[in-house]
């Protein structure tokens, strides 16, 4: 049934809630006027098992339509496609000394014994309401959904998934009553003994007026008492252990039981209690590593060889009074009803026989073909009957056939519970709220939220060239590398040199792997002889610190790496008027002699202790200020306030991309990929191959020896069209490279970009063609920065 839009709800155990909407599932209309019956009546012979695999192959393009119809007919319920997260789900990691699964007699006894012996924390998990036991924590209603590697037992408690690890797990999952296979065994009115007990004992409901009982064990006979009490007239009791009828069938009309035919005798009744024995619910034990063996005497599969720290209690393992294994199925004589093996998946005895006839003679294959045991009950009612049927039909025995693998989840579990809480973690800088107040369009960069622009990307970029801009770069990774071996450590990690760097200087660095591949880039400033301040890309910080620590775990050098990324905020003040603004806010000499290009200095700016790095971040005179995060908004506000008369304007990530592209600064991961190295990426000056060793040295030597295969170059479009990133460079009708970055530069009034091209095209002014919207557009290769190629503005 579908309850409040949730399909496949077992309404026999789900408590009624006020206001709940309960709908019948798998019928069109109602059970009395089920339109799907038409499919059964006229389509029955044409829709045998697996028919869709054979008859609906062509034309292939129609399969989605077929599939939609089949889905509806399969009766697996329907999900609301526009549905959203309907509740809050959580995951909790739990430990227990003893975890008891199942709150029946054996489970309760085991939990009580454990509590009385004071073994520590004892937790009892039960599907229904379990009784209170002193010293035992009871989780109910809750279900253990599997037994995973390392003794992990996830417990579904509605809105919480408990991930249990227990010192000892006691499985007391009991047995599952098995149905009998005879024509008409799916009619309303055909029940298992436990259902009768529950209806009569728990809910005081009379399950029918006239009842017939057919039972292979004592369980079916035991309900006679309940039925009498409820006032049901017992028409006939058949104990299969004493006499085995040659034919057995249930007959009905409109899906409801009307009579039972036993060896030709038709008995009018509206209730048939069937019992085919009890199969231990061994799934959790099998998942834990137990072997499952067929007990021919009782006709059931039993778990044996339990792993350490796992115990079984109660009927899941204990010997029950021997039940005569019932026949795999009963001959129905001339009965019209169908004999169902799998009620969930609508698989009949005939379907199973047909699958065998088609050659699916292995249980695992036949299961996948017929989908028997693959429904919501996960084989509780059909696994054993189907194996018995295979055994009879193939002439082998159940032990040789064996069982299919008992995989988790053992019980249906909602996707919401597995997904957990709907979290989308975001990192925000200390200045985040100022950007929002200024009306910035925020965007994701990795886990960071950053301003794309404040409404006018082109204008913001142009303004940096003309006057003064301010950007929040707090997202940069910031590491402190400190210790006597700090310089030697960086010498080994980076292709370029750091040992010769003077205190107070900054250098650009590109990190590579031993395969020579570019991993990350950033600046390295020497604050003291034994102390370096290293910045990384915004999303590369975690990778870089792991990389540094890893190599230091290998080398064991006397150096410590401290991650300051979250502790520090950073802004970049850039533009021709940036020196004037900085001069107003600090006492240190900000002249070109005081802080030269690529100098770093510790100073107070507006009273805030800062590390000033004068670097060419966006190609103009500029200063990067790194300082403690709590000052973020204060310093941001002060810079905007004191720079007002200089025309200061904040700029976002998009203008930054334009500005950096004008300078041909690469973006790792955008202009480089997993094959890029510094030599072919146009930065041969980075690699100091005369150093004794550095990570990636040998690979770069190899690249140099083998010659370049492609090179990263700049290009300028002839007619101002901006090609798509990833667009093809075409030479003589063939692909000869690809565009990695492309933007319109408002300052230069040109469409510019970066591209990987064949080495013969990596020549200044070489003519290339780029495919844009299907047309070829002309462009010229540029090897020097588009803007300020000599870097005069940076050094001014």
């Amino acid at each position: 049934m579908t309850v409040d839009g949730v399909p496949n709800v077992r309404v026999c155990v789900e408590p009624v809630r006020e206001g709940a909407t309960v709908r019948a599932q798998n019928v069109l209309g109602s059970l009395d006027r089920d339109l799907l019956n038409v499919v059964d009546r006229i389509g029955g012979p044409f829709t045998p098992v697996g028919f869709y695999y054979r008859t609906m192959l062509r034309p292939r393009r129609l399969w989605p339509q077929y599939e939609r119809v089949l889905r509806n007919l399969a009766g697996l319920g329907c999900l609301d496609k526009s549905g959203r997260r309907s509740g809050r789900y959580d995951v909790e990691h739990r430990r227990a000394d003893v975890l008891v699964i199942g709150g029946g007699e054996a489970g309760v006894a085991a939990a009580r014994a454990a509590a009385e012996n004071s073994v520590g924390s004892v937790v009892l998990v039960d599907e229904r309401a379990a009784p209170h036991i002193d010293g035992v924590e009871t989780l109910a209603p809750a279900r253990a959904i599997g037994f995973y590697e390392g003794g992990l037992v996830p417990v579904d408690a509605g809105n919480v998934l408990y991930r249990f690890r227990a010192g000892k797990v006691v499985v007391a999952t009991g047995t599952v009553e098995q149905p009998l296979l005879f024509p008409g065994n799916d009619l309303v009115g055909v029940l298992l003994p436990q259902a009768v007990r529950r209806l009569v004992d728990d809910w005081a409901l009379k399950p029918g007026d006239r009842g017939v009982i057919v039972s292979a064990d004592g369980a079916g006979l035991d309900v006679v008492e309940q039925l009498r009490r409820a006032g049901v007239e017992i028409v006939e009791v058949v104990d299969l252990r004493e006499s085995l009828p040659s034919t057995l069938a249930a007959n009905g009309r409109r899906g409801r039981l009307e009579s039972v035919t036993i060896e030709g005798r038709e008995l009018a009744c509206d209730l048939l209690v069937m019992s085919g024995g009890r199969q231990p619910a061994y799934s959790l034990l099998a998942q834990a590593g137990a072997r499952v063996e067929y007990d021919a005497r009782r006709g059931i599969f039993v778990p044996v060889d339990l792993p350490a720290n796992v115990e079984a209690a109660g009927s899941v393992t204990e010997t029950e009074p021997a039940a005569a294994p019932p026949p795999p199925s009963f001959d129905g004589g001339d009965a019209k009803g169908r004999c169902f093996v799998c009620i969930c998946e609508d698989v009949t005895e005939k379907d199973v026989k047909r699958a065998l006839a088609e050659g699916f003679d292995s249980l695992e294959l036949a299961k996948r073909y017929t989908t028997v045991t693959m429904g919501p009950c996960q084989g509780r009612l059909c696994h054993l009957p189907s194996i018995r049927l295979y055994a009879r039909e193939t002439g082998s025995d159940e032990g040789a056939i064996g069982t299919t693998t008992a995989r988790p989840p053992w019980a249906p579990v909602s996707l919401g519970l597995l997904a957990g809480r709907g979290l989308e973690p975001a990192k925000r800088t200390a200045i985040h709220h100022r950007h929002v107040e200024l009306g910035a369009t925020m965007m994701w960069t990795g886990a960071w939220r950053r301003p794309h622009s404040y409404g006018d990307a082109a204008g913001e970029a142009r303004h940096v060239h003309e006057a003064l801009g301010l950007i929040d770069v707090s997202t940069l990774g910031k590491l402190l590398v400190e210790g006597p071996d700090a310089a030697a450590f960086l010498e080994l990690l980076y292709p370029n040199r750091f040992a010769d760097m003077k205190v107070g200087r900054v250098r650009y660095g590109v990190l590579g792997s031993d395969a020579g591949r570019i991993m990350d880039d950033g600046t390295i400033g020497r604050i003291a002889d034994d102390r370096f301040y290293v910045t990384t890309t915004s999303t590369g910080a975690d990778t870089v610190i792991e990389w540094f620590d890893w190599w230091n775990a290998v080398w064991g050098m006397d150096v410590e790496v401290v991650n300051l990324t979250g502790a520090l905020a950073a802004v970049n003040v850039a533009g021709p008027r940036s020196r004037e603004l900085l001069g107003r806010l600090t006492d240190v000499d900000v002249s070109n002699e005081g802080i030269a290009y690529l100098d770093t200095k510790e100073a107070h700016v507006a009273g805030v202790p800062c590390l000033i790095l004068r670097i060419g971040f966006v190609g103009e005179l500029g200063y990067e200020l790194h300082f403690a995060s709590p000052y973020g908004e204060y310093l941001w506000d002060t810079l905007l306030e004191r720079g007002k008369d200089l025309g200061i304007r904040p700029f976002g990530l998009e203008p930054q991309r334009i500005l950096r592209l004008e300078k041909m600064h690469i973006i790792v991961g955008q202009d480089t990929d997993s094959e890029s190295n510094v030599l072919e990426a146009g930065m041969p000056w980075i690699a100091k191959l005369d150093k004794d060793d550095f990570v990636g040295k040998w690979a770069l030597e190899h690249v140099q020896a083998r010659g370049f295969r492609e090179q990263l170059v700049g290009f300028e479009m002839a007619n101002g069209v901006v090609p798509a990133e990833g667009g093809q460079i075409v030479l003589d009708g063939r692909s000869a490279g690809r565009v990695t970055s492309a933007r319109m530069s408002p300052h230069l009034g040109k469409a510019i970009g970066m591209a990987w091209v064949r080495p013969q095209l990596a020549v200044e002014d070489a003519r290339i063609e780029i495919k844009v919207d299907g047309r070829l557009e002309a462009a010229r290769v540029r090897l020097k920065p588009f803007f300020d190629p000599k870097g005069e503005r940076l050094r001014a």
Binding site: G150, R163, T523, T535, A553, V554, G616, I667, W698
Partner: protein
Amino acid sequence: MSFLLPCPNCGPRDVDEFAYAGETTERPQGTPSPRELASYIHFRRNAAGVQREWWYHRFGCELWFLAERDTRTNEVLKTELPSTDAAGSPTPHEPATPDTPAV
């Protein structure tokens, strides 16, 4: 995968807390031949059995350590902090995702 891994610093923890970084490798000494370089960078033993490997306690103490694990059963026989002579070398990472660089 849901086994427990004993971090030498924090004790047994859920394997989800750790980053796995593969079997240990031997970084060549001196100048390797192209073949030696290629096998160091690309080739792994991929043992079905006990293997010495790198782990990083990413959502914990952030320490790198070595483990001896049976790859068939996920049984962890031993974990230890690296001593410099026995550690081998890191294997290359994938590059960072598109992003804003420094400078």
